[in-house]
Amino acid sequence: MTAVLELLEVSRVHGSGATAVNALRGVSLQVGAGEFVAVMGPSGSGKSTLLNIAGGLDSPSAGEVTVEGVALAGMTRADLAQVRRRSVGYVFQELNLIPALTAAENVALPRELDGVSTRKARAEALAALKDVDLAGVAGRFPDELSGGQQQRIAIARALVGPRRLLLADEPTGALDSVTGEDVMKLLRSRCDEGAAAVLVTHDARLAGWSDRVIFLRDGLMVDDTGTPPTAGSLLTGGAGR
């Protein structure tokens, strides 16, 4: 298995002295190409810290983070920004859409920053919008769209281009459950095409779409469903529990 993301004994301490908080304590995790990992745990368990560190938005106090074989530690700011832009797609609770840009321009922006031609970036953006069923609103501005549509635009922006690592933090917050499932289908199909995804969620039904669920508590990985057995093994073995 080629690991797209590797965390090795990663710890993160916020603050220092008596008020120091151990957000993560020695967490190791490998996410391979094609693998979809869900991270669950109560609030304050370190889920979002793990995701921020995986995407180079935060640095570990100890331990190593590797994205597509490249260690993030010791990178220059410019190199790190490039890894974040080229290899990683993020979907966060805050959508951070740029109000002055249309849906298509928002989605094309990261590709243009990558140096892709405007024309190619636009074609990729339209394809990503089509994937989230929003081809029809490509020319609209964010404030002309519903909350659910804005969320799907943010998702299209994360999926645009050849990103190999997708990081999502409660990405279906503003969506109803049917559209929420559509988002999971999208993440799933990207993984089936060879991307790696890490999803932070408290929603078990969303986590059910993953290959592997890890559980955090107080910054420690307390359990792991492991990689899945073959499909259907549960039901052919008899009736549930």
Partner: protein
């Protein structure tokens, strides 16, 4: 699980023999509740005794004898669909009993029991989700996805209940810790008073 009513429902489509009934049942419920052929024949003979089905002529031998629904059977089936399944008619929940027992048992690690269960339930939820994805992709008829949705929502509810149990446990621990440290502070204060008096 009501094999009896299930068989009546399948016979509403037209006469079938025992083996066909078993195959149909498993197709509609995705082998979630596997039936053995013995159960099917036993149930059929009871249904025949009660006048809900009737054996027709035909078939090479007894095992291929087709059965048809009677008027009485049709009425029983209609009554089944018209009556909700009451919660108290369902079997006891072993897991709820287990956690209730663990909660009061000295030395039992309720956290560990909850976590082990959550991991297992989550695996089941992943499995059901995978199966439903496959069923959706294959464009299967309605019955199997309906059964899968039932399993998905039930396992989701179980995970949420386990989360709530864990939160309850954490709150209880925090309260106990506070009471204990209050007690210790009080004891210390009393000791201080003692010092002052002396």
């Amino acid at each position: 699980m009501s094999i009896r009513q299930g068989i009546l429902a399948m016979l509403a489509d037209g006469p079938r023999h025992g083996y066909q009934l078993r195959v149909d049942f498993e197709e509609r419920t995705g082998s979630t509740w596997p039936l053995n052929i013995g159960q099917v024949y036993t149930t059929l003979s009871r249904l025949e005794r009660d006048g809900l089905v009737v054996a027709l002529d035909g078939g090479d031998d007894d095992t291929h004898k087709p059965y048809a629904l009677t008027e009485l059977g049709r009425a029983e089936l209609a009554a089944w669909f018209a009556t909700p399944v009451h919660r108290e008619d369902r079997p006891r929940d072993e897991l709820a009993i287990k956690l209730a027992m663990a909660a009061e048992m000295p030395g039992a690690d309720l956290h560990a029991v909850v976590q082990a269960q959550r991991t297992d339930t989550m695996r089941a939820l992943q499995d059901y989700t995978r199966l439903r994805r496959a069923a959706d992709a294959a464009g299967d008829d309605l019955s199997w996805p309906i059964v899968l949705d039932s399993l998905i929502f039930a396992t989701e509810a179980e995970v949420r209940w386990l989360d709530a149990t864990e939160e309850r446990l954490a709150r209880r621990r925090a309260t106990t810790a506070r009471t204990t440290s209050d007690g210790a502070a009080e004891a210390a204060a009393t000791a201080d008073d003692g010092e002052a008096v002396r």
